[in-house]
């Protein structure tokens, strides 16, 4: 099987006020278009790079889903319906120790991953939401940019 390596980049919309509490939804379910090469296919996340322009360096857990289901309200605890939980394919934790401080910005990186993702039949889109694990953090609306490093079948 020949494999293909690509990058999928997305910028989630964050809440700017009030400050997030630990366990709050950092950003609600959003699509990442074209993350999967073939409609209804699967891929493996081999790495993730999180660009934190607000220089916060928070612990964050990302949830990858195969359809557009709600995790809840931004800046509040998750309230996912039990039927929708089935749509979560995988999760990925960014820890505070994964960041490097590069001045006014921090970059977190995790390589050597094997996190599966999957799209719905007839689409190449995956969905992602995130929960913040750190408390009392305030972001700007576009303060985070995320790269997913993907491996999938040709």
């Amino acid at each position: 099987m020949a494999n293909n390596y690509t990058r999928a980049t997305f910028t989630p919309v964050l809440s700017t006020t009030p400050a997030y509490s630990g366990g709050d939804i950092l950003f609600t379910t959003m699509p990442v278009y074209g993350a999967i090469r073939h409609p209804g296919g699967q891929a493996i996340i081999r790495g993730i790079t999180l660009h934190d322009k607000d220089d916060i360096g928070a612990g964050i857990t990302l949830y990858f889903m195969r359809s557009n289901v709600s995790m809840g309200t931004i800046n509040a605890a998750p309230t996912m319906a039990s039927a929708d939980v089935d749509k979560i394919v995988s999760s990925l934790v960014i820890e505070t120790t994964d960041y490097k401080d590069l001045g006014g910005v921090q970059v977190a990186f995790k390589g050597d991953l094997g996190v599966p993702i999957q799209s719905l039949v007839d689409t190449r889109t995956i969905y992602v939401a995130a929960v913040i694990d750190s408390t009392n953090k305030t972001y700007t609306a576009s303060g985070i940019v995320i790269d997913l490093w993907l491996e999938d079948e040709l």
Binding site: N3, R7, W149
Partner: protein, 159 residues
């Protein structure tokens, strides 16, 4: 699309001043953005780093972090802390840490190897080049020659 394992040797030019020695502090940039030819071959091409070796000919006893970038942007000045802009930080694709605790003294230098890596690198749109930058931990390091750090990268490069 197929990939082939390739070895790339990168010997950055360190900033050295014999008259007024530069002391690299904790977290200081030792390698400003430098081209890493050979890690990708195509425009917007990708490569997968499988292993790395860092040779430290000064035997600094410090942890060195190497950053990968997909564009030639300013990471920071040698001897200073990183000062990359918010916008340019998007071009940092990943990093690896060579801990001094894993360094092996082989005589005239120390070698730190990292195996079983799966780090994807990519060149920016319409370019074929990947770049690196590096910082050093600790403090009080004074390089005495410009060629005291050598990085060898084993990567699967897109043919």
């Amino acid at each position: 699309m197929s990939y082939r394992i390739k070895r790339t040797r990168i010997q950055p030019t360190l900033l050295v001043d014999a008259e007024d020695p530069i002391t690299y502090g904790n977290g200081a940039v030792i390698v400003p953005t430098t081209a890493a030819p050979g890690l990708t071959r195509h425009y917007s091409g990708t490569g997968i780093i499988r292993g790395l070796a860092l040779i430290d000919l000064l035997k600094t006893g410090r942890t060195i972090t190497v950053y990968f970038l997909r564009k030639d942007v300013v990471f920071g000045e040698a001897g200073e802390l990183p000062s990359i802009t918010d916008a340019d930080a998007d071009y940092v694709t990943g990093f690896v840490e060579f801990s001094h605790l894993n360094a092996v003294d082989v005589g005239d230098g120390c070698v730190t190897t990292l195996t079983d890596q799966n780090i994807l690198v990519q060149a920016e749109d319409n370019t074929q080049q990947v770049y690196i930058a590096a910082t050093i931990s600790g403090g009080g390091t004074i390089f005495t020659a410009t060629d005291q750090i050598v990085l060898t990268v084993f990567a699967e490069v897109q043919l």
